[in-house]
Symmetry: C2
Subunit: 424 residues, 2 copies
């Protein structure tokens, strides 16, 4: 008997029929003797409908009242799913955020969970109930309704799993797991059986939008085993854990994003404060910056050292960022500003590269063989990212997928630490 937290997103509960199907799925776990906590989002489209009503007011939304409004979406789902479960012969009980209670700070619209008292849920679980909890919402210490922001239901599920000491937190989505790369680009892309939290964070932030980053961080922090799997197809999905127990590849996956733009300030006098002088105005205008690089330009014709400063933004922010940058560059006495929109970023992600020094070399060799020019390079302990022209994106991803044999199942680790009882 295991204690499992399951989370179903908006598209999984988009219609009453789908809610009925999920009830059958949950019944399977109960019949197996598991205790189940279900976290649900609003029915697909409902949050947009509610937002639309607020938009009709044509006034600036009031954060406190928007939370009162939007939190009704999940409340509708918990009641319908609880009724569907009861109809399927499964004893069930719904919980809003305040009924759990899930206590958050008072940052309405983007609140953070501060504490969860698991006693009410535990008591219902001990009574044999499936507990159906509204995701995305909490209650402040002043008894006000809060929401965790869009996608916050993943975080709710992980936080509940941590508070209850659950055996596994299952995130049901419309994909059947995390892949080595986008299957639409590389036909040989393979579902990963396992991936570490660190790798998942790099994959998620790089565009493989399966899970909310905050939820993965939270799960990693509290050591909650997280599994991504498909709502309506059977299959084991992908398990996200602290240590990869099953397979040990060098590279776990290849993430990529298009629509990036690169901006470079050439020949900036290298003195303290220039990064802030250049990026400050960008941030103040709510433009998000991705990669940041700084190189000494080695201009020997000058009395003092000059540097080149480069960063990337989304293509939609390119013109605005360039204009701001040209002003700052002039004030700083920089030589020039150059830019290039429509570029792409490709990242190799894998904890295995920690112990494999030649990963970068193999990567650059592959790109050289394909005549792909690398515009920027940035690395972390478990990731190498490069920026290239968008037209080479698919070519690069496929070549790298081949080079690191990501289409092949990795060998199983024959660990003596794994007791054979776990195989059953």
């Amino acid at each position: 008997m295991a204690l499992i937290v399951q989370k179903y997103g908006g598209s999984s509960v988009g219609t009453v029929d789908k809610i009925k199907r999920i009830a059958q799925k949950i019944k399977g776990y109960r019949d197996n003797g598991d205790q189940v906590v279900v976290v649900v989002s609003a029915m697909g489209g409902e949050t947009d409908r509610l937002q639309g009503l607020a938009d009709e007011l044509e006034s600036r939304p009031i954060a406190r009242e928007m939370d009162v409004l939007l939190s009704t979406g999940e409340q509708v789902t918990i009641s319908l799913l609880s009724m569907a479960l009861r109809h399927a012969g499964v004893s069930a009980r719904s919980f809003t955020g305040w009924q759990v209670p899930i206590v958050s700070d008072d940052s309405h619209g983007k609140a953070r969970i501060q504490s969860i008292d698991p006693e009410n849920l535990r008591s219902a679980l001990d009574d044999g109930d499936v507990t159906v909890v509204a995701g995305f919402q909490g209650v402040t210490e002043n008894n006000e309704i809060s929401t965790l922001g869009r996608g916050g239901s993943d975080t709710t599920a992980v936080a509940l799993a941590a508070a209850l000491g659950a055996d596994e937190c299952q995130i049901y989505t419309d994909v059947d797991g995390v892949y080595t790369t986008d299957p639409r680009v590389v036909s040989g892309a393979r579902r990963l059986e396992q991936i570490t939290f660190e790798e998942m964070l790099e994959m998620a932030s790089l565009g493989s939008k399966v899970l909310q980053i905050r939820a993965v961080e939270f799960a990693g922090k509290y050591g909650v085993p997280l599994r991504v799997l498909s709502t309506f197809d059977d299959g084991p999905g992908t398990l996200i854990t602290l240590e990869n127990q099953v397979e040990e590849p060098i590279i776990s996956g290849i993430a990529f994003t298009k629509d990036e733009a690169q901006l470079t300030v050439l020949g900036v006098p290298d003195r303290p404060g220039i990064a802030y002088a250049l990026l400050g105005p960008i941030g103040e205008n709510n433009i998000e910056v991705d990669m940041i690089l700084q190189n000494v330009s080695g201009d020997s014709s000058s009395d003092f050292t000059l540097t080149d400063f480069t960063f990337t933004v989304h293509t939609r922010d390119f013109d605005a960022a360039k204009e701001l940058l040209e002003k700052s560059a002039k004030d700083l006495g920089a030589r020039d500003v150059s830019g290039q929109a429509g570029i792409a970023k490709v990242s190799l992600v894998g904890v295995g590269m920690r112990s494999h020094a030649n990963v970068a070399a193999r990567m650059f060799k592959v790109l050289a063989n394909e005549n792909i020019n690398v515009r920027m390079i940035s690395t972390t302990e478990i990731k190498i990212s490069i920026v290239i022209e968008t037209k080479y994106l698919e070519l690069a991803v496929r070549a790298l997928h081949d080079e690191f044999e990501l289409d092949e199942e990795p060998k199983k680790v024959e660990s003596e630490l794994t007791p054979s009882a776990d195989q059953g």
Copy 2:
């Protein structure tokens, strides 16, 4: 400066535009220095939409979860109206049932209010906020969401007015007050300036569906001055009070209902328990009984006294009730069962008739003059009801309206008890 509780029903808040108009109306009271508590229903159609989702489950609804579902309707309205008020420059704050808190018993779907702690509302009012409260809902002692049943928003408003000691409870509807009778039947029907709680109860239960009966009972019990008025037309509406201070008519109004059916058991042996034996099976089949009459039939040919037992039901229940009654009548040894569907009930209502003994005589004279046969008569201290054939309904109502001069403004009462300061 007065403390006013206002209630707006589903059609008054049916669209975002209407919510904006109500915000302007409330602003008028605030600008006048009044403190305002607003109680709102779900947006028109929303409760039916939510009910429809539950119906799609094709399972018996679970009362506890239906309350979780339906209570979201009012929660949407309080958030939208609070935002609309803030946009109109009026400081406002929303309250769900549990946030007030409005504590109810745990009869889900038809809960009764047990207590209201007014401190949170009072504190917000003292801060200068308009408080916007979700009608129709409460919270049980176990922190479960309850609903007071359809139309319960009127009761919420009256209960809040009582708990806060409000100066007036205003119920906004799509009519501009309580009329002497239905204006569609009698063109001279006149809006009443005042009516007593007792009269209003008789009027409401007899088909003048302006207010929920429970709300009127509640207001009468706690002496809360209640005013019925129109949401989108200006005007003073009708004030419902303990004592009629302004006018003293003999008759306040004429209520009527169609679609009644009369059932009579003839010649029942008159012994204890026959009423229960006849009505028990009717009630068990959820058939609502209206008037009940029993007359000794005076059948002198028998050894023991016989009685005739008559009651009315809605026409839709006529066949089912007749079938049940025929079985019971046979068991009791009654002589026969007769029935008549498609009859109508007309009631004169007025506290003034207490001191005017000849009201009944005048009523029957009018009906006799019009050749209308009276099938049943039933009286209370402030009401005389008769049952007649439906085809005579309009004729009877118009003739009675004329006879009691209901189209004329009653004379003002020149009471020495009314201090002249009240006139200002």
